[in-house]
């Protein structure tokens, strides 16, 4: 989920860049040199996961998975997602230099928020843990769509309809990300539970 170059106004671009810079600074501070390899390779996994297309009815959507990155990395999600976005910009020209900050905020801000709100419940067994995992996946997409819509709205209040469309388009993706995150967290709990304790 990203906004291309040329859509947003200067103040929105700068606010996005400033908030992402703060998030990235906090994330880098918490990521010590022993975790650099972990962060870098998870950034590649996040990048590859975003190339996976899942069917929805006659169409399909690519995975986003920012919720689970938040659960796995906490604040370090900011630098890791930023790096993945830079790779996407260079390889596919999705987004670019001026929107890097806003796009970082769209993806990583929600990741950190769901980690704080639902993270403590993830370890529970039974339906509480599953519901928390679903909420992390779906919530991260919902918040991302809201930040994206807000950045359009603050650029020009008359972009309201475009911002609304952006939210509606992401409703089915919310459901799918929730379901996939719930299964994925269940899988990690069985296979490598220590990954989720971070």
């Amino acid at each position: 989920m990203h906004i291309s170059e040329g859509y947003l106004s200067g103040p929105v671009l700068l606010s996005g860049a400033a908030l992402t810079a703060i998030g990235t600074a906090v994330g880098l501070k918490r990521l010590d040199y022993d975790q650099i390899a972990q962060g870098g390779i998870l950034a590649s996994a996040f990048f590859v996961a975003s190339l996976v297309h899942v069917p929805i009815g006659p169409s399909n959507a690519h995975l986003i998975m920012n919720g689970i990155i938040g659960l796995l990395l906490g604040w370090a999600a900011f630098p890791v997602i930023l790096v993945a976005l830079l790779l996407q910009a260079v390889f596919f020209q999705f987004g670019g230099i001026t929107t890097l900050g806003v796009n970082g905020l769209i993806m990583a801000g929600p990741a950190v928020i769901v980690a704080y709100v639902f993270g403590p419940w993830i370890g529970r067994s039974g339906w509480v843990g599953t519901a928390a995992a679903f909420a992390s996946g779906a919530g991260a997409i919902a918040l991302a769509a809201i930040v994206m819509a807000a950045s359009l709205f603050f650029t020009d209040e008359k972009f309201m309809a475009v911002a609304g469309t952006a939210i509606v388009v992401h409703l089915p993706i919310m459901g799918i990300e929730g379901v996939i995150t719930a299964f994925c967290v269940g899988f990690l709990k069985k296979v490598k539970p220590e990954m989720l304790s971070g």
Binding site: E5, I41, F47, A89, F91, C184, V191
Partner: protein
Amino acid sequence: MEEVFAEGSSAVHRTDPALRVVAATAYSFTVALMDSLTGVLAALIFSILLVIVARLPAGPLFRRLTAAGGLLLLLWLVLPWSYPGDALLRFGPLTLSRQGVWIALIITCKTLTILMGFVVLVASMHLSTLGHTLHRIGVPSKLVQLLLLAYRYIFVIEHEYQRLSRAAKIRNFRPTTNLHTYQTYAYMVGMLFVRATERARRVHQAMRCRGFNGRFHSLDSYAPTPWNFVLAIAMALVIALLAYLEHLG
């Protein structure tokens, strides 16, 4: 997944990468902040000139531009019909507004202009070069190392995903819209994260063995060329001209 634009021997490819990154940043922000159509069209022409000077392969460039087209199409479908302004055309309850068309046109030109500028100036270098260049111009070294490691391993992780995907296909996995499909994809992605973590542990140990102390060293060097000077002057002049056109309105 290939760096199709990085191979080349044009004047642009030979200029100092740090200069290219700085120029791309200044140029992108200048164009992003413009609102006048004259200025944006002038920038579009300059971007096309850059593409010609850099002799980029036309096919891949065209595919990248059409990829940006998806979002632009959505914009054209919604914005001109919802933006308040003078009516240009009426279709029953729908009204096409002149201001809406105008803004959609400016956004389209800006997207294409910045995209072409970025491809010429930044996508024209390998990611390893970009990483070391970012370090040279003051980006925090941890962030640069994350970028270099992520770049190194996307191909490996992509390969892992292909293996998982092939294994699923052999077991007759046919994706449709149902819970089983989503569960299977979730487990594949989960396995991808597990393997990424396992690999990271081994990579970290290997880095420790080789005395990693928080720095990657680069063997790249760029000989000074007169093109550095040409590019720097050209970019500065164009940015000044664009600012002037914007000032005129």
